[in-house]
């Protein structure tokens, strides 16, 4: 591949005609500028596979603020600073800032040695502290009041001499909501790059010692058996067993909605009530997982939409009834992990190498609980609270005529939302009508239409000149982007008429069957036993459906994603990170999934 090869320049990428107003809504600092043509950018399809609404963009902003701060100024990673982001047609493009000046690398290395190394040396203590901080943050977020505007200030506020009227608390709650979200992301990145770095160190060692070792094998060496992210599914298995033990298992049948199951249990006497109590125990906190990665307001939590967990219950109930032990065999899994490490150790060529391997494995094990566990607290639990609080503002604004529905609120940027709240506060205080109802509905409609348009337009995987090398550990670690993968992308752009789709080999095995496209959690019920799940993101919270499918294919995700781990536990072939499975595979089409090679073949 010659050096002149490259992707389209940012300036050549046009806003889809008719969506210019919607594009202009995104903050000025996220719009591409002429000088951006000098740099390499890539589409962050891993985290943001669909066009982002104006509000949801807050996640990109908060995350990159925190990621950059940790890399650039807190731990001082020697060869990389933070990540810039730009938005066009609702797509998030990002570009890294590598450090290449040897003098600067040297001085940053000295800083890294006393900062990052302190974290590594005190990992367990700092991680325990981190969990407490996260739980406190979650507690604070839950304590935020529901935004309301009473007709008159309650009399007790007057008598208590509160002095501050209710409209002020709208702004206060909103700002604290936003503040908490930005703060949460700092905690998210407090350890993340360091954790991945230690994991990548093991990865690099294994790839050198065993050039043909698969990514999944390395991740199996460190994967936690009892990480938080497995808990939601484990709770479901527990509930299935409870249902059988309480004799209410007849209520769990395929195709019956969660509401109907609950209603029938409510009328099923003491046993039914007991099961519902058990359900409540599981729901807090374990049903605070959302059905995506937490980056879209419409990826609702199990707690907000029970259809996903309930879709998994009939299958588990059936297996319990058949006398199967459905609890995950923790001892066996743990023993398997230990054996794997020992077996590879034996193959190393010298005791010298074995000593290094032991050190590197030990460090990877120390950091991995964070790498696996943080998502539950950050992307799931906290993010659900955040989006739900914003939804409450949406409901209040909708009541006051700003929107047709509460979810319209997500079509406003976080700045615009603050303006709308102040509009409402002013109107309430002045006794006049808010301006919002005349202002927002048209814009909301325009932006919804724009997102629908953008979703139909393919966007280039990358923009700008291809760098000589990609040596930025953050980019390599988090997105798996290397010079080789860019060359693949460039090739893919030249002719994609083959009947093969390539992705990461996530879980081995070869299976043929009908593809079932599941675009949202509402479509989960379409899955029939033996179907091959094809979706944008495979997420650990989808675990319950893995028991009935034959294989899984996703647009995004890496081979160390939890979905890959779950697929391996179920022994299902899986190919993840294909980039295009949901656009190239038709619903019902016969496909072959080769999870060992990472290839999906279109058959019919």
């Amino acid at each position: 591949m010659s050096n002149s090869a490259g992707f389209p320049l940012p300036s050549s990428l046009k806003v889809v005609p008719g969506t210019e107003q919607a594009q202009a809504a995104y903050p000025y600092y996220t719009q591409f500028a002429p000088e951006d043509d000098q740099r390499f950018w890539f589409y962050n399809s891993m985290h943001f596979p669909e066009p982002m609404s104006a509000f949801d963009m807050v996640t990109a902003e908060a995350a990159y603020c925190a990621l950059g701060a940790a890399n650039t100024r807190v731990h001082c990673l020697p060869t990389t600073l933070g990540i810039d982001h730009r938005i066009i047609n609702g797509r998030v493009y990002i570009g890294g800032n590598a450090v290449t000046d040897p003098a600067q690398i040297a001085s940053r290395t000295a800083e890294f040695n006393q900062r990052a190394m302190y974290y590594y040396a005190n990992w367990e203590k700092l991680y325990t502290q981190w969990k407490q901080k996260m739980l406190q943050l979650i507690k604070d977020a839950r304590a935020l009041p529901t935004p309301v505007l009473p007709e008159l200030e309650p009399l007790e506020h007057v008598r208590a001499g509160r002095g501050v009227a209710s409209n002020h608390y709208l702004l206060d709650t909103y700002q604290r909501t936003l503040e908490g979200y930005f703060r949460m992301w700092h905690h998210h990145f407090e350890f993340l790059l360091l954790g991945y770095g230690a994991y990548m160190t093991l990865f690099a060692f294994c790839k050198k010692a065993f050039p043909e070792i698969s990514d999944q094998t390395v991740s199996r060496m460190v994967a936690g058996i009892d990480a938080e992210i497995f808990r939601p599914d484990e709770e479901l298995r527990r509930l299935a067993r409870c249902a059988v033990e309480l004799g209410v298992d007849g209520h769990f049948r395929e195709g019956v909605s969660a509401q109907d199951v609950i209603r029938s249990l409510e009328g099923a006497g003491a046993a039914g009530r007991s099961w519902l109590e058990e359900l409540d125990k599981s729901r807090e906190p374990w049903f605070n997982v959302n059905v995506g990665d937490g980056f879209y307001h419409y990826h609702r939590a199990w707690n907000d939409d029970l259809s996903l967990p309930f879709a998994g219950l009939p299958g588990y109930v059936r297996r319990v009834r058949a006398g199967e032990r459905i609890e995950r065999p923790l001892d066996k899994l743990q023993e398997g992990g230990r054996q794997l490490i020992a077996d590879y150790r034996e193959l190393l060529s010298s005791d010298e190498e074995r000593a290094a391997y032991d050190q590197i494995i030990t460090l990877a094990h120390r950091v991995f609980p964070y790498v696996e566990g943080h998502k539950f607290y950050c992307e799931h639990w906290y993010t659900n609270l955040f989006f739900n609080k914003i939804r409450e503002f949406g409901a209040l604004l909708a009541q006051n005529g700003f929107f047709a529905s509460a979810d319209d609120v997500f079509q406003l940027t976080h700045y615009e939302l603050e303006a709308a709240i102040i509009d409402l506060m002013s109107a309430w205080s002045n006794g006049s009508a808010p301006r919002g109802p005349a202002h927002w509905p048209q814009r909301v409609a325009e932006r919804r239409a724009a997102i629908a348009q953008w979703a139909k337009h393919e966007t280039p995987p990358a923009l700008g000149p291809v760098p000589e090398v990609i040596d930025d550990p953050a980019i390599v670690m988090l997105w798996g982007i290397t010079r080789e993968s860019l060359d693949e992308w460039l090739k893919a752009g030249t002719g994609a008429d083959s009947n093969e789709i390539r992705g990461f080999a996530a879980s081995s095995g070869v299976v043929e069957g009908p593809a079932r496209l599941v675009r949202s959690v509402q479509e989960i019920s379409k899955l029939q036993p033996g179907d091959i799940l094809v979706c944008q993101v495979t997420n650990p919270t989808w675990t319950p459906v893995f028991q009935k499918i034959a294989a899984a294919v996703s647009d995004i995700g890496g081979s160390m994603s939890h979905a890959a781990i779950v697929a391996r536990e179920f022994g299902l072939p899986a190919v993840v990170g294909t980039g295009s499975a949901t656009t190239r595979i038709r619903d019902g089409q016969r496909i072959r999934v080769d999870g060992g090679r990472g290839i999906v073949t279109l058959l019919g």
Binding site: L77, P78, T79, P102, I105, T109, F112, A116, M117, Y120, A121, L194, G197, A198, M200, T201, A204, F205, K208, A209, F210, P211, E212, I213, S214, T217, L340, D343, Y344, L347, L348, S349, S350, E352, E353, A355, A356, Y357, D358, Q359, I360, T362, L363, V469, D471, P473, M477, S508, G596, R597
Partner: protein, 346 residues
């Protein structure tokens, strides 16, 4: 049986290499480690020496070789032809002949009808690799007389033009030339091939590479058929590559030894091993490697009943001879390993 000229596999090992050769010793090791090996015995080097000694008494043999000029090809060809003829046609020393016949009869009494007669050289590994190729192996040998003949043929192969000129160039003393011969039940293989307990391309010790094709292994070893090729995780068992080749011919036993035969149309593009067999081979390969303590190059066959049989195992030599630089060394501060990621590639 210390003085005898014949040893059964179960009584020998690599420790007796100088008397039973590398192939014989290694088959003995495999049998004693409990691996499936077709039954057989070794005609020890002592028998070869007796045979040569008897010939020396009639006319000088070793001296005749040492006087040859490796660069005078014509003379070499004529001399070697004569030497080969002498070694091959002279009857075996009677006590050797009796023992070989008795052992062969015992094999036949176990239901063995045909055998492979294979040279088993005593030279060191490094030499062995290139030397072994110069010596003969006879497959599908039927009847006692024919076995006796092929034992002499194996010995005679030491006096081929290639073999002799190789020794002359290496200035290998003729006194030290010796050969044992393996006589082993023949496997009527459905599928056969080779297995390396590391990657021949990357040297990776965590994978096993298996090559196989329909029929006897000779078609694979001689390169007459492009075998199917699989790469398996040695530890995980994951099959990471499956290259199924069109297999047009196969070697099968015929009336006069091995015959080439076209593969039936419907079998050509079929994989010659199923996943279960691949996994069974992987387990055997792993165990053999563990037994020897280093990666192996193994010849195997799967018989018509689907049973695996090992025909040979020797240490892998290509990667083993490369000076390995440790991937990493233990660090005084274990945390500093992360600099391989964070320190940049400069």
């Amino acid at each position: 049986m210390a003085d005898s000229h014949v040893d059964w596999f179960e009584n020998i090992g690599l420790a007796q290499r100088t008397e039973v050769g590398g192939k014989g010793g290694s088959l003995g090791e495999l049998v004693r480690a409990g691996h499936p090996v077709p039954p057989g015995f070794v005609v020890r080097t002592g028998a070869f020496e007796r045979h040569i000694e008897a010939l020396e008494r009639q006319a000088p043999l070793r001296g005749a070789v040492e006087r040859l000029d490796p660069d005078d090809l014509d003379a070499l060809r004529i001399a070697c032809g004569a030497l080969r003829e002498r070694v091959e046609s002279a009857p075996l020393p009677p006590e050797v002949e009796l023992e070989v016949l008795a052992a062969h009869a015992q094999l036949c009494s176990q239901g063995v009808a045909t055998v492979a007669v294979r040279s088993s050289a005593t030279t060191e590994d490094a030499v062995d690799a290139s030397f072994a190729g110069l010596q003969d192996t006879y497959l599908w040998v039927r009847g006692a007389r024919e076995v006796l003949h092929k034992v002499r043929s194996c010995w005679a192969s030491l006096y081929s033009v290639d073999s002799v000129s190789y020794r002359l160039r290496k200035q290998f003393p003729e006194r030290e030339v010796a050969m044992a011969v393996v006589v082993q039940a023949m496997v009527d293989a459905r599928t056969a091939g080779v297995m390396f307990t590391r990657s021949p391309t990357s040297g990776d010790r965590s994978v096993i590479t298996i090559e196989g094709a329909w029929g006897l292994g000779s078609a694979v070893v001689s390169g007459e058929v492009t075998p199917d090729r699989w790469v398996l995780g040695k530890i995980t068992g994951e099959i990471t590559r499956r290259d199924i080749s069109p297999k047009l011919i196969r070697h099968v036993p015929g009336d006069s030894g091995v015959e080439e035969q076209p593969v039936p149309q419907d079998m050509r593009s079929q994989p010659s091993l199923n996943d279960e067999e691949l996994q069974a081979l992987r387990n055997v390969g792993r165990a053999v490697e563990r037994h020897y303590g280093c990666p192996q190059d193994i010849e195997w066959a799967v018989d018509k009943a689907g049973r695996i049989q090992l025909l040979q195992s020797r240490p892998e030599t290509v990667w083993a001879s490369k000076q390995a630089v440790p991937v990493a060394r233990a660090a005084d501060n274990p945390l500093h390993h992360v600099m391989t990621i964070f320190g940049g590639k400069r």
